[in-house]
Point group: C2
């Protein structure tokens, strides 16, 4: 137990590695925000197999969204992560990579749609919540935990939350049965210095519990990777990444970068590079993600990327000055 | 003097700004490595005017390369930065933005080609040197200083230099008349943690002198901007950037990002966005720069990007796995 505790919070160097580090691939879940969760089964299978071969610890496939709120005719299958559909695509699970689905507070019929763990192919439920939804999130955490799942909580858009509210929320999570508390930079607004400070503060609040701290970043300012490794240096253990950085808008921390950084010999970058070459480069003309100046502008302004996504999908994507001026006008 | 000294090393926050910070635009110099220093005069003029309007402190236009070593028939005018040519393109200087040219150790006829300051339009000579060229670099620093210039020294490829040699070199520079000592991450190999440590060490060695520390980064691992602001946080004052990150291979820290981060009201991001929109987006099909996975691979391996540049210029640019395997074979 003492050894385990020590390992949990030991400090790595650029040569050694930390046993407590876990990598979570969120390609299909975050990438699904670009294409309405409509991926070819083959693509999902390829991502799954690449992550498995690369030694990734967790993979997140999508959401457990309410079919009452989101009509299945309007969204792809990974919006719901039905048990049968997952099994159809990846087969029966015969390995140790943990399967996750995200459950949004207030947008999930969790009582009915999240089955008891023994009847599910899923291992881990990731409860995503905004600060004003904390009571619902706590109920969902308890529900998933009682059903037998490992549970993480992903507190979103914290860059627009006061530290007082934020730390109060973290204290509530620290008392809940959640396994991992995530710092989520939804707007790609944080600088490395802020990520170090917040990670340290999350760790301080959760100290004495066995809970891990997680980090989920966005690449609006080309800081997704930097912020991920800085969170790691400051004590985060669960690191989210996506293959080729695929994800809404500017995308996420690229898995290939992260695996290249981590020194644990169990991780292998080759299957990820192969997957990018075979499956990501061919769809680059159909799906658009990654750093662009409009995302930088919303990131620097600490705003939701929706305005940038809208302009990037329009004819005006190269009208940088007009976009900048428009954003500043909206602000004032 | 005390006040000045205090300002030189004060610590900024995300709200305040540091008076000692200076921004250097190296677009034409580093971008010239992509196109053999052949820019349209109009492009150079547009970059110059954008930097001026943006409040940039220094602009670097190219090299003072030896015409004996590099035949002028083989290279564009910004390889040499002839006084007449600079004046022809930007006119007589009537503002406070300082003009720089880079002088490579052992590849510059500095005795003859660098004129006395009073006869030159240039304000600052940037001596670029590898660790084995230090004696020549020191002679060039003294020569340029004696001629009346502000001088910086850019010690390149330090990520493959032992710390013992590196710090000995910095000690020599600290005793020279150089104004700024630069940490240059030529291979885009450094992580933020290393940049913080090295910047602090450079500052420690130069403490007691009036010398500033500078930072010049490359974007192989999408860390150019992160490393620049981390160097800043650790005490660097001279920050190199390029418009749209233009520069060899993966490019550099983007000026628009840096100006968006800096809080000094004298800096204005708008002219830079306008310049990108009008002059950079239209040439994207003619000049290739910016992050790609082959650059990430050479960066993570702490190698010169030449292999990555070569593959990116070839039909095999998307053959990621073959490139990765080839690089690992060469290593062993």
């Amino acid at each position: 137990m003492d050894q385990q505790k020590k390992e949990k919070f030991e400090k790595g160097t650029l040569i050694t590695y930390r046993q407590d580090i876990k990598v979570l691939d969120a390609t299909i879940r975050d990438g699904g925000l670009i294409n309405g969760h409509n991926f070819e089964d083959e693509f999902v299978k390829a991502v799954y197999n690449a992550c498995l071969a690369a030694g990734v610890d967790y993979i997140e496939l999508g959401y457990k969204a309410s079919k009452k709120i989101f009509a299945p005719s309007q969204h792809g299958p990974w919006k719901y992560c039905d048990e049968d559909y997952i099994r159809k695509v990846i087969g029966e699970k015969k390995n140790s990579m943990k399967l996750c689905a995200m459950a949004d507070a207030e947008r999930t019929d969790y009582h009915t749609d999240i089955l008891p763990k023994k009847d599910s192919i899923l291992d881990c439920i990731r409860v995503a919540t905004y600060i004003h939804q904390i009571p619902t999130a706590l109920a969902m955490i308890n529900d998933a935990h009682d059903k037998g799942y490992e549970v993480t909580v992903n507190l979103m858009a914290v860059s627009v939350v006061t530290h007082k509210d934020l730390f109060e929320a973290i204290e509530l999570f620290a008392k809940s049965p959640v396994a991992t508390i995530y710092l989520v930079d939804s707007f790609g607004a944080y600088y490395p210095e802020q990520v170090r400070e917040l990670t340290s503060e999350f760790k301080r609040i959760a100290s004495g519990t066995r809970k891990l701290i997680g980090i989920h970043t966005h690449n609006n300012q080309q800081l997704a990777y930097a912020n991920t490794i800085e969170a790691l240096v400051s004590g985060a253990s669960m690191l989210d990444a996506t293959i080729n950085g695929m994800g809404r808008g500017a995308g996420n921390c690229a898995l290939e970068m992260l695996l290249g950084f981590l020194k644990n010999p169990k991780y292998d970058i080759r299957p990820v590079l192969e997957c990018i070459e075979k499956h990501f480069i061919p769809i680059k003309n159909k799906m658009d993600w990654g750093y662009s100046i409009p995302y930088m502008i919303t990131g620097q302004m600490n705003q939701h990327p929706r305005s940038a996504i809208k302009v990037m999908e329009s004819e005006a994507r190269d009208k940088l000055l007009a976009f900048y001026d428009q954003m500043n006008e909206e602000e004032s």
